[in-house]
């Protein structure tokens, strides 16, 4: 049980996919304009991660090593398609806001990375916990980044005004603001790492 919990928690801080492993930055930057988009992307990616990790852990013994990557991609793409269709059906607004970045979860390095590095060598339960931890870590990172961007860029959190009279820094809602923020955050985490 303790092992399982550590599998789960490593994805949140020690091996956080965004800040420590620097994986999957494309969607992180693109959709983090508002917290709700960030959560939507995080949940969708977590779903795909969980699904693909479990399926790959189950069928790992049947996949020939030489064509394993295409096999992983098919499994991942299947779950992405499910997520895409579900999002279109239940939350068309979110689907429009996330745009092409939903299908692009297929090439999100976190998902393929976990399949290749973890799920193909570990048991179903461990892979499940690993996927869940990574997904939650990714979602938390998204919430952090989108929270900062939404607060600075629009003066709101989840659409609610937080501080009255605050002049929004428009650039934070733009691509350049996202790049700047991730650069500074990575620098900050580097600094924190070196202090420890």
């Amino acid at each position: 049980m303790k092992k399982l919990l550590s599998e789960f928690f490593k994805g949140i801080i020690k091996e956080n996919p965004t800040f420590v492993l620097a994986l999957g930055l494309c969607p992180t930057l693109a959709v983090s304009v508002s917290v709700i988009n960030g959560i939507g992307m995080g949940v969708a990616a977590t779903f795909v991660l969980l699904g693909s990790n479990m399926i790959i852990a189950l069928i790992k013994n049947f996949i020939p090593a030489r064509i394993r990557i295409p096999c992983y991609i098919v499994v991942i793409a299947t779950f992405v398609t499910i997520a895409e269709l579900a999002m279109k059906a239940y939350s068309p607004i979110l689907d429009r806001a996330l745009g092409i970045y939903v299908p692009l979860i297929v090439v999100n390095c976190i998902v393929l990375g976990r399949a290749e590095a973890y799920a193909c060598k570990n048991s179903l339960v461990n892979s499940f916990m690993d996927g869940l931890g990574m997904g939650v870590g990714f979602t938390l990172a998204l919430i952090l980044i989108s929270g900062i961007r939404e607060f600075l860029g629009a003066g709101t959190i989840l659409g609610h005004t937080v501080v009255k009279g605050f002049e929004p820094v428009f650039v934070m809602g733009m691509p350049s603001g996202a790049l700047l923020l991730i650069g500074l955050l990575l620098g900050f985490f580097n600094l924190a790492k070196r202090r420890n």
Binding site: E167, V169, F170, V171
Partner: protein
């Protein structure tokens, strides 16, 4: 630490220190600032002072925080603050130059390792940041010689909105009787400073001249109705072209080393400025043009390197 830039001979020694050159540039910027204060009134002065003091403070804070040598008085931070203020409208709220200066120094300069290592002109980095973040303050200009603070568009902005520009003569543009940023309006004052720098050899002619001529030629060809009918003089005299060409594009650190490279740089700046002015969404393109060419400088340097004597 083998961080030594080696370039082929000849190496000339001039007996000038970096900080002396910096203070000379500061001196050459004074006439334009005085003209700006005269034209827009005391609020221009407070913007300039705020920007310079915050640039110095930012430099000091960051150098202390990163435990580097304190070089606040080498004049470079003063230049950054001055240039940033010169690129702001006169009646902006004073927190704007404070944030702008901090951004310029932190992101434009110290992140790269400080003086002499930055890739982009720090003042322009600050300016485009402010422009993207608070456009409503950055694009409201006040009418010159009129302290009632009536919002007025710059000549270039009026042109962009398709208004016909009346009552503005070339002399008005030359003397600065128009809306605009603090330091860009009085061409006469800018030219006095630029002449000083050119004669003393602190800046070379290649970049400013190719820059201005390219913009002039391009706008002459494309800005009018039909080809070869553009008002090129208007385009040269308005906006921040003169300020940018002489004082910002010529920054040693962020422009190419060789004459050939500098000419390519100037032409590139001129083309981009004219293209943005004529077809872009913004009325003025000088800051963006110079920043884009700053980004291209390492590549330009790479392809226009002086041949090492004796090699192919």
């Amino acid at each position: 630490m083998n961080k030594l830039i080696v370039s082929p001979a000849p190496h000339l020694y001039k007996g000038e220190s970096v900080s002396r050159i910096m203070w000379m540039v500061v001196a050459s910027l004074i006439p334009a600032g005085v003209a700006g204060i005269f034209i827009f009134g005391p609020s221009a002065l407070s913007v300039i002072i705020t920007a310079v003091i915050s640039a110095l403070a930012a430099e000091l804070i960051l150098q202390v925080a990163t435990k580097r040598k304190i070089t606040v008085f080498d004049g470079s931070a003063v230049i950054t603050g001055l240039l940033l203020a010169y690129n702001l409208p006169a009646h902006v709220p004073l927190w704007l130059p404070v944030i702008g200066s901090f951004f310029s120094i932190a992101i434009g300069k110290q992140v790269f390792g400080g003086l002499g290592q930055n890739i982009f002109n720090p003042a322009l980095v600050g300016r485009v940041f402010l422009m993207a973040s608070w456009p409503k303050y950055m694009t409201v200009f006040t009418q010159p010689l009129n302290y009632d603070a009536i919002a007025q568009a710059t000549p270039l902005a009026a042109l962009k909105e398709g208004k016909i520009i009346e009552h503005i003569t070339y002399l008005d543009l030359f003397l600065g009787k128009r809306g605009g940023c603090i330091g860009e309006v009085c061409i006469l004052a800018l030219l006095i400073g630029a002449g000083f720098l050119l004669i003393r050899g602190y800046i070379s002619w290649q970049i400013p001249f190719t820059y201005i001529i390219t913009t002039g030629v391009f706008t002459y060809i494309f800005a009018g109705k039909g080809l070869f009918a553009g008002d090129w003089l208007f385009h040269i005299l308005s906006g921040g072209l003169i300020l940018g060409a002489f004082f910002m594009a010529t920054d040693y650190v962020t422009s190419p080393l060789t004459t050939k490279g500098q000419i390519v740089f100037g032409i590139g700046c001129g083309l981009l400025t004219a293209i943005i002015r004529l077809w872009g969404g913004y009325p003025e393109g000088v800051s963006y043009a110079i920043l884009m060419m700053n980004a291209a400088t390492p590549i330009i340097d790479r392809f226009t390197k002086n041949r090492v004597y004796g090699s192919r």
